[in-house]
């Protein structure tokens, strides 16, 4: 009953910058994966390196991050990732299956 309810999603990208195949990269072109976890309070996303030949994400190779505090920012317009100490969240995400 005390467990924090979370929802997870992910999205692949071929590169750090938008390019013609950013919306729908083929498996062989995926280089970055954005893993999100969201609760009532926040949505936290880490964009990390991804190897399409082994299907492995490298959680220590962080390309970018997003953190939105939903109570104050329901539209997810103000990314506060760089402002906050997020190490605990990185560990939380890293520990997930």
């Amino acid at each position: 009953a005390n467990k924090e309810h979370m929802a997870f999603s992910q999205y692949p990208r071929p590169a750090d910058q938008p390019q013609l195949n950013s919306d729908l990269p083929l498996l062989k072109d995926i280089r970055v994966m954005g893993y999100s976890m969201r609760t009532w309070d926040y949505r936290f996303t880490l964009w990390v390196a991804f190897d399409p030949s082994t299907f492995q994400a490298n959680m220590s190779d962080i390309h970018a991050g997003e953190l939105y505090m939903v109570a104050d920012d329901p539209g997810e317009d103000v990314n506060v990732f760089s402002r906050l100490e997020h190490v605990a969240m990185v560990r939380k995400l890293d520990a997930l299956p």
Binding site: H5, S9, A15, D23, L27, G34
Partner: protein
């Protein structure tokens, strides 16, 4: 009384722009009526905001890292593991399982067969008129036909004088009629193609949304601190004839505001069009005397950005792209009433309903499989081990059945 049937309705790119999710613009009386008799999950999320990965994930109850499907071009049974699907499991339990329209993503992702015969008792039905969907069938101001994004049409002038979701609704009603009086329970999955682009919809639905009353997205600009990797450049829109004429710059646009309003108007009109098809289905269920014995699940594969953050697509992790409607009507449990009269949005557009049982906790589409099983009184799949590529039947979701018995806390 025997086992319950399931009517599983899935829309394509339907975000929570519905009256029952508090959207002040949307006119969706039939889905709102269903919500008033259902348990409505207000915070339900897809696992990846694109069709094939999301649908495969939901129907197998495995996340994309386990289906290993991130694009459209592999079949999970040969590429990742021979995972059982929800309809396959029900079929093994004696259900007649049927697919109408877009349930699995077509093509390689479902072995060019919609996963028949594993998942379905009979081959999947696809509406014949879908073959015209991406052809030059949209009348332009120049009198010629184009491959437009904005494609409100006079249906009687379209090839076959019909649109795909109308055909799917009609086929689903025919299948429902064929099940009356049979002892074998059924699982009928109906996948509507809208509100996915192009907005090829009956033109009369535009009248529900006068342009002068249509608001822009509250946050139409690309956020200043958004990492470039998080942004998607909505390439599928750019390929349409009418969007190409806008000369929107790559990758960030923007789209001119007057076209933004048209785009939003057409999306909402497409939602009302799908709502009418859902209304036809539910009214048939009711009239055939099946609504007392049939569980109804309504959801979508993912959401869609309607201009928020300067985006016009799914393809992201934003809430607007990943959040979906999710509701379960369980006769005698979520509501004592089981009537679903068709509501004509044109004559009763102001009709409002109160949600039966709203749930605010976060849930996911991978939760649907075990939850449906439990609601049917079947054994739900066990939670998957950490590595489950060789496990045919397990779930990476949560069984939400407890939420039907107990109100959420806190």
């Amino acid at each position: 009384k025997g086992r319950r049937n399931v009517l599983f309705i899935i829309a394509d790119d339907l975000r929570t722009s519905l009256g029952c999710y508090g959207d002040p613009v949307a006119r969706s009386p039939n889905m709102d009526q269903l919500a008033s008799r259902s348990q409505v999950f207000l915070n339900a999320y897809a696992q990846q905001a694109v069709c094939a990965p999301s649908r495969t994930s939901m129907l197998t109850s495995r996340r994309p890292d386990t289906t290993r499907l991130y694009d459209f071009y592999s079949y999970w049974r040969v590429h990742a593991g021979n995972y059982s699907t929800l309809p396959q499991y029900l079929k093994s339990q004696g259900y007649a399982t049927m697919s109408v329209g877009k349930v699995f993503h077509q093509g390689i992702a479902s072995n060019f067969s919609d996963d028949f015969p594993y998942s379905w008792s009979v081959p999947a039905y696809h509406p014949p008129s879908y073959r015209y969907e991406n052809l030059e069938v949209c009348p332009g101001r120049d009198g010629a036909l184009h491959r437009n994004l904005l494609c409100a049409v006079n249906v009687s002038e379209q090839p076959g004088a019909v649109l795909p979701d109308m055909e799917s609704a009609a086929q689903a009603v025919t299948l429902l009629k064929s099940r009356v009086g049979r002892r074998q329970p059924f699982f009928l999955a109906v996948g509507f193609h809208k509100p996915h682009i192009p907005f090829r919809i009956p033109q009369e639905f535009l009248s529900l949304y006068p342009l002068e009353e249509m608001p822009l997205a509250p946050d139409p600009d690309v956020p200043e601190l958004l990492p470039p990797v998080a942004y998607n450049p909505w390439m599928d829109l750019r390929k349409r004839d009418d969007v190409q004429k806008l000369n929107a710059s790559f990758p960030y646009g923007p789209i001119p505001k007057d076209f933004q309003l048209l785009l939003r108007q057409h999306y909402y009109a497409a939602v009302s069009y799908v709502d009418a098809q859902v209304g036809r289905l539910l009214a048939a269920l009711d009239e055939l005397g099946l609504s007392d014995d049939t569980l109804v699940v309504l959801t979508s594969d993912h959401g869609w950005s309607l201009g928020e953050h300067g985006e016009w697509a799914k393809y992201s992790n934003f809430n607007v792209a990943t959040r979906v409607p999710l509701m379960f009507y369980v006769p005698g449990v979520t509501s004592a009433a089981s009537s679903f009269p068709f509501i004509d949005v044109f004559s009763q557009s102001g009709r409002r309903f109160q949600n039966g049982r709203p749930v605010e906790n976060m849930v996911e589409l991978v939760d649907v499989f075990p939850t449906v099983c439990s609601l049917l009184g079947l054994k739900a799949p066990r939670p998957c081990p950490r590595v489950s590529f060789k496990v045919e039947l397990c779930t990476e979701g949560k069984n939400l059945v407890h939420s039907f018995r107990h109100r959420e806390r806190g």
